[in-house]
Amino acid sequence: MRTIDLLIIGGGSAGMAAAIQAKKEGIDDILIVERDENLGGILNQCIHNGFGLTEFKEELTGPEYLSRFVKQVEELKIPYMTNSMVIDMTKDKIVTISNKDKGVEIVQAKAIVMATGCYERGAGAIQIPGDRCAGIITAGTAQKYLNIHGYLCGKRIVILGSGDIGLIMARRLTLEGAKVICVSEIMPYSNGLNRNIAQCLNDYNIPLYLSRSVSKVIGKDRLEKVILSAVDEKMQFIPGTEMEIECDTLILSVGLIPYISLLDNIDCPASSTKGAKVNEHMETMIPGIFSCGNCLHVHDVVDFVTDEGRLAGHGAAMYLKGKLARGNKIVVTPKDGISYVVPQEINRDNQEDVTFKFRVRTPVKDVWLIIESNGQQVAKIMKPVLIPSEMVMVKLSKDKLDLIKDEVTLRLEAR
């Protein structure tokens, strides 16, 4: 059985960043395993621009952004396999890789970075009442059909969910000649960026209906119409508010979930992000297995995925060199108004600054973010506006961390 120092599962933005970082820190025996034909992950189909503003201080399209990392992978001569899928992984880091030409290979890794991205919630997850007809697909699938293969998924389209992919697809489908009738969002606010509502919907006069969802889909073979109904605060449909819309396609943009099925069999605890529970080096609760990017928690901006990949690559390099701090653990807990925090644990002996990444449950204005430990305040930061669709990052320097005892809490307080 071949031995590999650092095996990286997933050659998207997180995986490439992790590999590049580990290589720069002296880890030479690396292998990236990518299931698609090319490195780059989901950015291959994100042909719109707006990527790289933090990383490169310029606005790039998805393929341009990823190409800069592919170039570094090539220049650093980091080995990678495409068309290859990791189908099993043990706690002892024995990994089974399946490749369509080479067949199955089992390797022993010394450290692993999980960078497997996320998947889309589909029709089954939201239990739409009505017929089971063709013409209901997720936004990412519609995007792949259109941007990679050149197939338009329909002509008269309703989009359910106002996340950024749904908004981006509303514009893209319109540009390619489809009629996007409306975007419907069950929440009273959009989960997409304001700029995407402006440039993807307002520019093309596409209406956005809030607090409204699909109460029925109707179609014999292909979708013929959808019924949109208003919902109350409890997300229940309000009778008498039905709008009947003739359409041939319903596109779902109703959420993304970290893809971590490889961890299912190895007893690796998850967190409220639905990704693995990790410490400040993005190391899961299984020593030597790291996780980063959208398989850890779903990000809004790829630049932050890249950054987190580097953090995991750094952690893996430290682990392989036996330099990773091991000590008493500080438990990180989100409270009052905060839905999750990454990381969920910090090693007491950690010698580096730690960045907390979190999201709020509902939109809030003029609040204090309070970081406290055993009742003692460590930091208090004013936040004018926080919304669930924007991940917040707060860096805590080493000297502040020294104030923390065995637990730390992040919470919001009204000003």
Binding site: I47, L53, T61, P63, N147, H149, R195
Partner: protein, 113 residues
């Protein structure tokens, strides 16, 4: 007074512009430029994809080299949809020059071997 959302970066500032073109609500100077442009000559960058002749079922992504007037978006899309290229492609390759005389080119944004 006009109000709209800045589209320059993900921050998405809510901009207000009064009758004398005084801009407020912008976090950075680019917001001010955007507001003035939006009221005088709104422009957008277009991204799309074009066929790759020597590959089955494959498109390559493209973009306009600069921004074009908002009113010309669909005309530019018509021109883009007439284009096709042959692989290999390299980022920055010019597929069409000075499209519709607007002074912008259509550039490849993806490397295909």
């Amino acid at each position: 007074m006009k109000e709209f959302t800045c589209i320059i970066c993900p921050r998405g500032c809510r901009l207000s512009v009064d009758d004398n073109m005084n801009v407020t609500g912008n976090f950075c100077p680019r917001g001010k430029q955007y507001a003035v442009s939006e009221l005088t000559n709104p422009v957008r960058t277009i991204t799309s994809s074009v066929r790759v002749n020597n590959r089955e079922d494959l498109l390559v992504s493209v973009k306009t080299s600069g921004s074009i007037p908002k009113g010309k978006i669909f005309e530019v899309m018509e021109e883009i949809n007439k284009l096709s290229v042959s692989a290999p492609t390299r980022i920055g390759d010019v597929v069409a020059s000075n499209i519709l005389g607007l002074g912008v080119d259509i550039l490849i944004t993806k490397n295909i071997d």
